[in-house]
């Protein structure tokens, strides 16, 4: 909690996430979201028929949990990149907070994707890990995010932390296409089914319905948690600014000293 950075927020306006918390009406979307997630889980286990064309049809149901996790993780990664670029362009501290919080959630959803994928791989392909293209991509993403947080935690100054973190995030993400699209071209075999959710005969309508409801529900969970975290960070910085008088940053000292 370096104050020189925190004070950069000035007086943040109350975030939209902290709107009318007290009124019972505000709870309705949360209840609906809870019901939606419950419905997806129950439908995934009980309503969906066993998937045909898999070595272990009953266990293929994990696809309705695995695919939404990967889609939400991709969305979170995209948001991380977007705000990293926005931060480098505008230097508004709020953009860095949004990028960092999204990176944390992205890492969480990538881990969930990896775990569900590994369970699926054991059931269908025989081993937990077999260096399929998408497994290679995901291990690279996990490494990038782990390195991103290791790098940030090694830098004490918060402004430097933000700039260096954003630059590394953008730089490292450029490597992903090499592993996901270019390298596999010389070894064309993949175990992942292609066009599962985009083609007409990839999945049965029941599967598609449950899967897309799951995607919507998880995306809403992501957006909700992300906004809560960003709002929490704004409150923390306001508190920190209130406790201490506005500190002089390094640049101010240099200029007045001369």
């Amino acid at each position: 909690m370096n104050n020189s950075q925190r004070s950069g927020f000035g007086a943040p306006k109350p975030s939209a996430a902290s709107a009318p918390q007290g009124s019972p009406l505000a709870q309705i979307p949360k209840v609906l979201l809870l019901l939606m997630l419950c419905a997806t889980t129950v439908a995934g286990f009980l309503w969906l028929p066993a998937a045909e064309g898999f070595r272990n049809p009953a266990l293929a149901r994990i696809v309705v949990f695995h695919v939404p996790c990967s889609i939400v993780a991709s969305i979170a990664s995209g948001v991380t990149m977007w705000y990293a670029i926005a931060y480098l362009a505008t230097r508004r501290p709020m953009h860095d907070v949004k990028s960092r919080v999204s990176a944390e959630l992205s890492l969480l959803f990538w881990i969930l994707t990896t775990v569900t994928g590994a369970i699926f791989a054991k059931a269908q392909w025989g081993t937990y890990w077999n260096w399929d293209i998408k497994q290679g991509a995901i291990i690279l993403l996990l490494m990038i995010y782990a390195a991103y947080f290791a790098l940030r935690s090694a830098i004490t100054d918060e402004r430097k932390q933000a700039v260096i973190g954003a630059a590394y995030g953008i730089f490292a993400t450029l490597c992903v296409p090499f592993l996901t699209y270019i390298l596999p071209n010389s070894t064309p075999d993949t175990l992942h089914p292609k066009g599962t959710i985009t083609t007409k005969d990839g999945l049965s309508p029941e599967y598609k319905l449950v899967l897309w409801v799951g995607v919507l529900g998880l995306t809403l969970v992501y957006v909700w948690v992300w906004r809560q975290h960003v709002a929490l960070d704004a409150i923390r910085s306001r508190l920190a600014a209130r406790r201490t008088p506005p500190p002089a940053s390094g640049f101010v000292i240099v200029e007045t000293g001369q």
């Binding site: 690279l140 790098l151 090694a154 830098i155 700039v163 590394y168 953008i170 450029l174 490597c175 592993l179």
Partner: protein, 244 residues
């Protein structure tokens, strides 16, 4: 570089002056790195000795074992990557430790600084490859070696390795402590595609199976593309990192 582009329409004479100043700056940074390195021989001795020790160790451990070409390709690149990473992180850390970074920021365009450092790291990787790869081939001979292909892979792989590692070195110069360990940690995700491509291409150069040679030629092109992408991204992002 950015300056030269924006000034291009203004006047021909000032453009050429800016370009020659940029080249002078880059050359001065490179010459300074070289002089400091020849004075202390820190990176050179660390990196080259690391590579030599590892090659000798690998060949001593595997004596009598029949090692396939693809395993040898993997060993060569593992040795090169680890040796390179132990020395490439010094270029920017050295400026911070000597307290010369601020003067350099004021006097030279950031892209020229990066170009000078990149050239030095390229030279360092060149030396490492020149020492360790022949030694490796001497101790663990490869029968049907495709020399031209191997040289192309080493050149392209070395270029990509240098630009990626130079940029990550600029990032960790801001870190508080544990810099060399951190450099390895943040470089590995970036270098993983390079390592996989380079090993795949070296397999073709070592076992001389026609399909593998064909694939290796393609991989050399991809390695070149990787080097171009990494270099471009480094030059674009370095300005933000350097002036922090």
């Amino acid at each position: 570089m950015i300056q030269t582009k924006s000034d291009a329409g203004a006047a021909g004479a000032s453009t050429s002056a800016t370009v020659s100043r940029w080249v002078d700056c880059a050359a001065a940074v490179f010459a300074k790195e070289l002089r400091v390195e020849l004075r202390t021989r820190y990176a050179l001795s660390a990196v080259v000795l690391f590579a030599v020790i590892t090659v000798v160790m690998v060949s001593a451990v595997l004596v009598g074992a029949s090692v396939r070409g693809d395993v040898k390709a993997a060993l060569v690149w593992i040795i090169l990557l680890f040796a390179a990473l132990s020395g490439l992180s010094r270029v920017f850390v050295r400026e911070e430790e000597a307290g010369t970074a601020a003067i350099l920021r004021l006097t030279a365009p950031s892209s020229a600084v990066f170009a000078g450092k990149l050239l030095f790291n390229l030279a360092l990787i060149g030396v490492v490859e020149l020492v360790s790869v022949p030694l490796f081939l001497l101790l663990m001979p490869v029968e049907k070696l495709q020399l031209g292909l191997l040289l192309a892979v080493l050149a392209m792989g070395g270029a990509g390795l240098a630009s990626a590692a130079t940029f990550t070195a600029a990032l960790i110069a801001h870190a508080a402590s544990g810099k060399s360990a951190l450099h390895a940690i943040i470089s590995f995700p970036v270098l993983m595609p390079l390592a996989l491509l380079a090993v795949q291409a070296t397999v073709g150069a070592f076992d001389a199976i026609p399909v593998h040679i064909l694939r290796a030629r393609n991989d050399v092109g991809v390695l070149g593309a990787y080097a171009i992408v990494m270099t471009t991204a480094s030059f674009l992002l370095f300005e933000y990192v350097w002036h922090e």
